[in-house]
Symmetry: D2
Subunit: 337 residues, 4 copies
Amino acid sequence: MQLGMIGLGRMGANMVRRLLRNGHECVVFDRSPEAVQALVAEGATGTGAVADLVAALRPPRAIWLMVPAAAVDGMLIQLGPHLTAGDIIIDGGNSHYIDDIRRAQTLAAQGLHYLDVGTSGGVWGLERGYCLMIGGEAEIVGHLDPIFKSLAPGAGDLPPTPARRNRGSTAEQGYLHCGPAGAGHFVKMVHNGIEYGLMAAYAEGFNILKRAGIGLREQEVDAETTPLRHPEHYQYDFNLADIAELWRRGSVVASWLLDLTANALAESPTLAEFSGRVSDSGEGRWTIAAAIEEGTPAPVLSAALYQRFASRGEDEFACKLLSAMRYQFGGHRERHP
Amino acid sequence: MQLGMIGLGRMGANMVRRLLRNGHECVVFDRSPEAVQALVAEGATGTGAVADLVAALRPPRAIWLMVPAAAVDGMLIQLGPHLTAGDIIIDGGNSHYIDDIRRAQTLAAQGLHYLDVGTSGGVWGLERGYCLMIGGEAEIVGHLDPIFKSLAPGAGDLPPTPARRNRGSTAEQGYLHCGPAGAGHFVKMVHNGIEYGLMAAYAEGFNILKRAGIGLREQEVDAETTPLRHPEHYQYDFNLADIAELWRRGSVVASWLLDLTANALAESPTLAEFSGRVSDSGEGRWTIAAAIEEGTPAPVLSAALYQRFASRGEDEFACKLLSAMRYQFGGHRERHP
Amino acid sequence: MQLGMIGLGRMGANMVRRLLRNGHECVVFDRSPEAVQALVAEGATGTGAVADLVAALRPPRAIWLMVPAAAVDGMLIQLGPHLTAGDIIIDGGNSHYIDDIRRAQTLAAQGLHYLDVGTSGGVWGLERGYCLMIGGEAEIVGHLDPIFKSLAPGAGDLPPTPARRNRGSTAEQGYLHCGPAGAGHFVKMVHNGIEYGLMAAYAEGFNILKRAGIGLREQEVDAETTPLRHPEHYQYDFNLADIAELWRRGSVVASWLLDLTANALAESPTLAEFSGRVSDSGEGRWTIAAAIEEGTPAPVLSAALYQRFASRGEDEFACKLLSAMRYQFGGHRERHP
Amino acid sequence: MQLGMIGLGRMGANMVRRLLRNGHECVVFDRSPEAVQALVAEGATGTGAVADLVAALRPPRAIWLMVPAAAVDGMLIQLGPHLTAGDIIIDGGNSHYIDDIRRAQTLAAQGLHYLDVGTSGGVWGLERGYCLMIGGEAEIVGHLDPIFKSLAPGAGDLPPTPARRNRGSTAEQGYLHCGPAGAGHFVKMVHNGIEYGLMAAYAEGFNILKRAGIGLREQEVDAETTPLRHPEHYQYDFNLADIAELWRRGSVVASWLLDLTANALAESPTLAEFSGRVSDSGEGRWTIAAAIEEGTPAPVLSAALYQRFASRGEDEFACKLLSAMRYQFGGHRERHP
């Protein structure tokens, strides 16, 4: 079927490619003419302005936005004058689900439909397919089923879940209508919150392995440094790339993130080209905000988020204050290595 | 080759089965004669006492212990008088790696060899193979390679890690000589620490989804209860089993633990048959203890461990004291639902 | 000077008493006629309706609200028609500072002034005075200085902070204009966030002391229970009330909360009359929400909040899911004591 | 009475001063002759070697060690040949209580007594007195009561705890026999664990206040940076020194650590002279290790400890691995400010 795509970055462009390969008709727009041209060369219909994109689509139109969350409301304002009742806007980016609830209400008043689609897959989606978490009106979700089916990974050769009885859910194809407006981005938000936790679990574990040779270094004896009680217990020099590879097979911690970790460590055992400043793109924060509103404990997911904040130095003043207190009560001066 | 196996519980018995299927000769012992008989029926040589097991093996003997960590030292004392120089003891259970270091030294003084083998695979190992993390002398590890190779999962149909250059490591077959004495259980310990973190990440995430309908319930207005600011944002009724199934395909959080989660939720969407008292069997604790000795931050893995402690009520006095303080400074009385 | 007080609960009534003792004129209202009568007997002017309270005050009126946060907006709607330009509303309860920002703007459009005053002191405020954190227009804060001065603790016999040079700030009297609208409740919010952290630190520490005799109990040996490595190290039976009393003098952890802890443990060493369900009244949650918006790591304050959630069973489903996963991969059944 | 003191650093020297002022006779030794001379000038008996110190004391001798924890065992070996049955060694430093248990047993076999005394007070102890947490044989503790009484703060003008009935405990004077060998350092260990938690609670809270003006800065719009949803809510420029001063009076968070915080911020509102590398001197680690052995949840105290580790860059490899994973799955490159 026909779909308009606005935003041809890393994700949007590959989603268009996957749709084209599955026989869909794609009308595309991006601020960058080069990005548009690249997809025209692969069979998409290119346009040079949002109004042109709308004009090139047959009503009821389906327009997928793949733009930064902070740019979605501006894009809706641009699109507004050109749309007609019955048109469908799909936000496939990383919007906060609360914005989806608001937008769906606002657009409904104009006779427009709005779907929020949390999309996981990253740079791998073109090849593996995109896991789609969809929120909005059931009828509209049903109408776009061919698009979702093509973007999603499909059942693949993954063994079926033995206990499932209600076989036939689209969940088994990698896409799911999760609930009303906002449900898609809510589920995606929690997905990313979990992702932060999983990543942190591996990162902490490999750091413990990395530092397991600490007993080989000399120890200082003074009142400011904790002596290592048993240096003889910390004499290991582990091959982290081999351990990651090992765990991919038969272990309880096997996962796709571990596959990627094994690859990262194979590429660069010391990860020296990374500084360790870790970004967070919103969903982790919103997950914690939602947990707190709900009164749901989320210590692991929170700790994972805070690690990222701290990796960027956001704890600086707190640590200075700790040093200042130590100086106040004990005359302790900071040690520098 | 020939192997003695002591301890025919869930893990030990299936490991013997996997070895028998691969053409190895197994001499087995367990406190339970029934456990021994079951394996004799499948081709193992049964024995009725530790001394008999030793006698039935040709030197240099290889004896695999698959018994609770707390029982290993006792078993070594029983075995001691019957062993001869050059014999090999393999501890495949969940020993603390510090005990391995000690045991390897003690046994070396008697001319005996000791390997520590962290074993992951659970009830699935018979079918999937066991991921083996091995510590000890390289020569002895090499000698037992046929055993390890048969127990391990093998390369399977898992796609190779693209960036790996030093192809040919046994890590790609699912077993690895990690380092000297204790290295196997150290790596297994951290493996389980990571496992706790991964499990907690999923558990917290699904709990946030589970409670996303909290805005549907009525709210009380009093000074002791935080009012929900936006009940309209918490009106979802998610199908957790479908979401777990969905995430298995194409998402960043796909993993074997998620496969199991999908199955658990398919079997029982409310998990009503579980009370939520979660055991911990040692490695999670030791991981944190090692992290602290190393001075390595492990906030996520620690939070995961403490959740388990708290699930068993170990925080009871702390919570009572919080209530008592609130009563002292604010006259707050505990609310009960 | 003259002040209207609406809300004569635990806090409001005692604040009126403290103002009366300092020679101020108080006009009071509460839904409960008994609460009003009690204060009339002590010198306040009682009223039977919000409109009567407004009528009994001379413009420009100053009306202090001491009602649950969820009731403030309703009260402003009730008051609205009776107020005249120049009147001042003070919210002394536990409002979210974001509501203060909105209310100050809304009321300003009507020529009214709004102050937000975070108030700490609990049931002890009548005797010790109330620590006041004030947000709003500087001129209005200045106008009400006599009220704030009377409510605040004053300098007392606390030793002055040696390094302070700008002596003379009202901070040294226990009240402070912290900034524009919302600043008072923002500071109070963080104050309570810190309070949660402090309380949790004591609670965890005393729990560790409480459980330091765990080595005296018998230990089971099975694969599901972590054996205590060194029971001989956990043989203590500490007198917690004496330890709390001890720490009040000369130790680094001396604090008012410790004074209260010492009293609680003196009253009831086992705290058996508490169940350990700990409420949270909003500020702790908002502190974390603000930290996350700011990108500021707050692992300690978050952990303290989550303990409270978990104390009320909000982690139930998460723990059940952990048990379910353990059953799925290892056949582990839950242990019950 | 007579006491020998070995170790005349910050703590030891001031303890001798306090004893001298209370009429006790002190024989002192330190590796630094200047440290010895300084105290001789104030009335102590100086010695130039451990053997001389022992010789200068009348049996049964009482020798207080105030040396780094890592130096205690070496000092016991030095002292050994010179001591006679009945002599008493007091370890007033920061030993791990497990070492106390061992030492008490070892020395008892030689007819010697060993007390472990956790000492809190820092550079303020000379003036405020030292809070003493004592472990060992009751008879020996009683014998040294005059020493403990003089070192301790005494009742002072602190209001008595209202609910205490068993008045007369030395806890009310600031010293306490907590239990058998190791009990003193166990209680001190937990004391310091709590101290870490309290310090972190203040540090995080003040950091949230410090960063409450983040909405005043410009925000970038891209997929890697979380946009601040409501910059209008983060426009504050708080005076942290005044807020710390304010909270000292009448608030729930008043404490000695807050007094010190107020002083630190009065000295230097930006704390620019501190880098924020925070040491930890052992007790915090041991507290967590004990909590884990006991199965006692300690999320707040652990988070506080891990902040310190991370402040020293011990999380570096973990953060690099997070960045590497983000690059692997999403092509995300690290952002640098």
